[in-house]
Symmetry: C2
Subunit: 526 residues, 2 copies
């Protein structure tokens, strides 16, 4: 098979792009900085969405939708916010186009007030909350929105940093500072749980240093993941906005003592960059590897036959295995698909009691030879590939290849059922998390002098180092090493390659020589 993917050692950034291309996940669009999320990439995003959405709903949040457009004047109301976002905003100035008489069309209908395309929705939602809240009885407001946002970026990278991206943004309002803080931390924990349990990506929870806070927040918490090149990726953030937006947008309420007060708000978001995190955390030199919980196709069955007389028997056998894996009602599900419209070339059964859209497929395409089919499913990160040929039929076996380990072995056909499938997938889910956790541990180190940090971040990895807590030292380190404080970790102890390290013991900042209250996590980041 032609090698269409650079190895990670050869060229890590190119490897990432090659994996995306080979996995048919996304492409650049003709508008610079925007991407097209192709069906396989979007199916992964749908599964990620579903995992978050059910947890948001289980914690009492409801979805709503706010406008794409924000009046320019809104952005200016919160001083830190406008400073953070103004230069990244796409601005709509006209409401139509008309022929210019020279064969082109030109903007027409200048707007009285320019509209901003939301880079995030605190301002417009703050404005609406002000209408919705009168009394403490109206609180808490627990709202989430799934939407597209735009932040003008020129240095973009598929999934990780794009001008337009898809995300969810939670926006809540509370009676008290304590409740808002509790919510901010609760949603951070929801993020940790989802990213670790479903995406199989281990993360460190922590707080951002003041210079890395969201524009307008009192406190920003984050989850930080390590990619295979040792760089950090911020996988989600949760912001305690205090009363900043409530004051800017006059979100006032009568409290339990009949006094007028401003609400306390939070916001929190994860985005399509998580698809990038998935790719970089698990994939290998052969292409995409997906944790089963977010894999659109869980198993692909590839029939193998050379002669026409083998074809019928092998296909019947492959279908028997397909229905066995499906479990109860498999034969009916297959019959329904075969009589339906869909693609006849890849039979695709949506699995009962799996996440929406998760399925097993039987690859009947005549245009590809078996090795091409193996390659196809491997590069799409399908956890299990099941090959069935004339000899397997004779021996009542099937050849099973596991994507994460690329191990291959014969399994008795009688053993192939839904329970077997679920067990295999659960084991892969666990393996991927543990593999990523071991990788992080092996690339996490405590450092006590600045030169060690400099050399370390150059090679990649997380570095636990004392910090004096000042913006100046942080800025100096960033300028000299391109490393930033990824977080002030919540964990008292973090596992490193050399063993557990306390983050709470006082010490000395090796850069400034000033005292430090504990170690923070330094790394270069995406």
């Amino acid at each position: 098979m032609a090698k269409n993917i650079k190895t990670r050692d050869q060229d890590y950034p190119q490897w990432y792009l090659d994996v995306i291309k080979a996995g048919d996940l996304a492409e650049h669009s003709p508008v610079r900085g925007c991407m097209v999320i192709k069906p396989h990439g979007y199916a992964i995003w749908e599964l990620i969405q579903e995992q978050f959405d059910r947890r948001f709903k289980a914690t009492g949040h409801v979805n709503a939708y706010f406008p794409l457009f924000i009046p320019k004047s809104f952005l200016a109301k919160e001083a830190a916010h406008v400073e953070g976002f103004a230069m990244e905003c796409a601005v709509v100035t006209h409401s139509g186009l008309r022929p210019d008489g020279k064969g082109s069309i030109e903007p027409h209908g200048k707007l009285e007030e320019e509209l901003i395309i939301r880079p995030t929705s605190e301002t417009i939602i703050g404005h609406m909350f002000a209408n919705w809240v009168q009394s403490w009885r109206d609180l808490p407001l627990l709202i989430n929105q799934w939407a597209n946002v735009v932040r003008w970026e020129l240095r973009t990278r598929l999934f990780l940093r794009t001008m337009e991206f898809l995300w969810q943004e939670g926006h809540t309002a509370h009676e008290s500072a304590e409740e808002a803080e509790e919510e901010t931390r609760r949603m951070l924990e929801v993020y940790r749980e989802t990213v670790e349990d479903e995406l199989a990506v281990p993360v460190l929870k922590g707080e951002k240093s003041p210079s890395e806070r969201f524009a307008g927040a009192d406190r920003t918490y984050c989850i930080e993941a390590m990619m295979q090149d040792g760089k950090a990726l911020q996988a989600g953030t949760s912001h305690n906005l205090g009363q900043n937006f409530a004051k800017a947008f006059e979100i006032q309420f009568q409290d339990r003592n009949q006094e007028l007060d401003h609400v306390y708000t939070t916001s929190w978001g994860v985005s399509t960059r998580l698809v990038g995190a998935l790719i970089m955390a698990h994939s290998d030199d052969e292409g995409l590897v997906l944790p089963p919980h977010v894999a659109p196709v869980l198993a692909a069955i590839v029939p193998i036959y050379r002669k026409d007389e083998e074809r019928e028997a092998v296909l019947a056998y492959a279908k028997e295995i397909l229905t066995r894996l499906y479990g109860e009602g498999g034969a009916e599900a297959l019959a329904a698909v075969e009589s339906g419209i869909g693609s006849k070339e890849i039979v695709s059964l949506v699995l009962p009691n799996a996440s929406r859209g998760q399925r097993i497929v039987l690859d009947l395409r005549d245009t590809l030879r078996p090795p091409e089919k193996f390659f196809h499913w491997e590069q799409r990160g399908v956890p299990l590939r099941i090959e069935v040929g004339p000899r397997d039929l004779q021996n009542k076996k099937a050849m099973v290849a596991e994507r994460p380990t690329r191990e291959k072995g014969a399994v008795d056909a009688a053993a192939l059922d839904r329970a077997w499938l679920d067990t295999k997938l659960a084991a892969q889910q666990k393996l991927l998390f543990e593999r990523a956790l071991a990788m992080r541990k092996a690339n996490t180190h405590a450092v006590d002098d600045y030169d060690a940090l400099k050399a370390g971040v150059e090679a990649g990895g997380f570095y636990l180092m004392h910090w004096d807590g000042t913006d100046e030292t942080e800025a100096k380190i960033k300028a000299e090493t391109k490393a930033t404080i990824r977080c002030i970790p919540f964990d008292d102890v973090i596992e490193t390659a050399e063993g557990p390290v306390s983050t709470r013991e006082a010490g000395t900042d090796p850069v400034s020589g000033k005292p430090s209250e504990g170690r923070v996590v330094f790394a270069r980041a995406y």
Copy 2:
């Protein structure tokens, strides 16, 4: 209870807005023409999405995501398309804002080429398809996108016509004209089935007259529904785009005879205006009525007690009924919610095997009296309200109120289980469809002279009239009556108040006096 909804007879347009407000579905936003979809409205949209999405997937379509921004030059490539959309496009001209020194912020960073915010995505998707298709083996391409689009509108109405709206747009490419036509009609049928079976809104399938075609289509098919004021609402459209976009964007492929040809494309869409259709089709003077298949809350249990000593027993009884309605595992589900975070005031159980998000609730709020709670759930269109008080407890009964009929009666508690719930809901679903169908029939008439049409459309309703097939006659009728040809119907026979009427018998256009091949549907429309 204060009457917060105008009756339909008093003021139909105000009634519509009042129902939306009372049902807490949506609000105008500070940006003129845009709306905020509030949680209850958005939950309905999520259920509608789910019903369509599963059918799209079952017919072999996959979801993807294309950029919000379209280069200005793309729009100009298809002549009819640009003519149809240019004046409605929001135009992005700048990529940032900066302080102007006078306390305001002004657009900064003028773009080389202006970007259009998608009013629809044929052009950008056509551009991508050109890269994706080389051979007949790459066809058909069956793609769908759930997204927001923007069309500049100044006369807007919540859900029915807004500047930004949410929708799905299907985009497919095929080898042959026949396949494209088959797809166009298949998706129209998917629309009919979903709108009739899930939204309980009867529709007429048909073809649009040339003047009402989508800008750039060879043929546009539609489903048309009748609202309670007798006006038509276009509920979905499916377009056969022929080779128009393929030629504009050079989507070429090598066919089975090794010859280069342009693909044949289709597009089809439904939007958040369906929420408006739902409201106008089923609601009554008391507020929202929802067909159970798209009702976020299926049943609301309201406990009634006056004295504190009644409270505990009534609540225990109400919980017993809640868990009975839930079915197997109800007690565990209740315990999980009670130990969880969520709102403690409204216990909300997501029903197993229902659509995602469908639930039954127990209203424990202390801030509202029982009649206020009845009102609350009634105005939100909840199909079943179940009242339980001390006397019901004593008699082992519950009082059940059905939203569509507002009938109320005692039911034995022993009869209240999941099967009872499903049966009641199925009956309501059927009733709403039949009620809407009877309403349409009673307001559909054949007319053979122009004065009858004029008088008819003034009063509302669908009018089956002969048409000579010319743009001129159609334009004259529109100018004089504000009625348009809603469709050239597919049905050979349409039921009217006066009995079945053939649409296929030749006749005479009463406006022009010219011959006509059959009757078409005239009506005023939203």
